[in-house]
Symmetry: C2
Subunit: 167 residues, 2 copies
DNA sequence: GGCCTCTTCTTGAAACTTAAACAAGTCGGC
DNA sequence: GCCGACTTGTTTAAGTTTCAAGAAGAGGCC
């Protein structure tokens, strides 16, 4: 990241630039689309919906705050605010963690589960319509591989795959 | 989007679900990564940087607000706030539009151009490292096609490709 | 001209995110 | 036991985005 000298920069080729812009446009439009869809039908932004989904899938519908944050790829701070809001809606409840007195556990309430059950079909349909219905099976496979590679590269694993010289 | 009955829902297959999650994770992590990179090196979020880039590429480094909003895939309201901030930084200037008294033209200042010139190399490097360096040429090509398809499908073209029955 | 409708852009408030600082608790070593 | 370093989760303030409302001009039609 510390390319100090502009003359050393490997600029994007025309092809790469087109790809990058298509990516940015698609991502911007899609996130916008889903945010609106969920705000309208479920009364919450996409990220919050994702939190409820994770809780619904977890054993006993509960997760430590930190695990939830990691799973959702967000900071603990952001999660704190989000859970506060979801709690106000009655969709999530906080409990103390028995094993670690610092810990908090977010629990999906029955009411929260209801919201999810009621709105999931519409959301899946939106995702299908915007993405899967427009892609061939090969493209879907390819997309999955590509996104996995990118996500892996950005995972803040302090194991230090990014810092081999510190091994 | 009006799938009222859950029993009619075509849920995502396991494969599709994996793809969708990989997508969400990659997109979340990448946007986060680039936002941090640009906040640190250029003092602005990714979206704002994109606005300066568009202005820099436009003839005479200026664009009507609405065109800029369309190009960036954001609402005029959001753009209004964003330009207000960039103006405060001295990177953009507003001018009245001669042809349309309602219109405003956003103009990239020399100072704004400087910021771009100074920070572009670092940003390109970040994009390369996070995306292009990790993908094969075939994957890059595929990604471009896939994202174009998705973006097209979400383009708010009132021509109504989404509403064929209204034709 | 006068009227109606649409477009352009801005505004203000509420919601959401970020960054930094902090209280409280854990853990290992001494 | 106690110290120091680290972890957990929250809080505050500042920045950004959204939503609804509105001022001002454009443009068509009579």
């Amino acid at each position: 990241m510390r390319t100090a000298r502009p003359e050393d920069t490997r600029w994007l080729t025309d092809q790469e630039q087109r790809t990058w812009r298509a990516y940015m446009h698609a991502v911007t439009l899609l996130e916008d689309h889903l945010d609106r869809q969920l705000q309208r039908d479920a009364g919450m932004p996409h990220m919050y919906y994702g939190l409820l989904v994770q809780l619904a899938e977890a054993p006993r519908r509960r997760l430590r705050m930190t695990e939830l944050a990691i799973g959702a790829k967000i900071t603990r701070s952001r999660l704190s605010h989000a859970v506060a809001r979801l709690e106000k809606n009655g969709w999530v409840r906080r409990e103390n963690c028995a094993a670690d007195k610092r810990g908090q556990v977010a629990v999906l309430t029955d009411e929260g589960y209801e919201v999810l059950a009621r709105t999931a079909p519409g959301h899946v349909a939106a995702v299908r319509q915007a993405m899967f219905d427009r892609l061939t099976p090969e493209q879907q496979k390819s997309l999955g591989e590509i996104m996995s590679v990118i996500a892996e590269g950005l995972q803040p694993k302090d194991g230090g795959a990014d810092l081999p010289w510190l091994r």
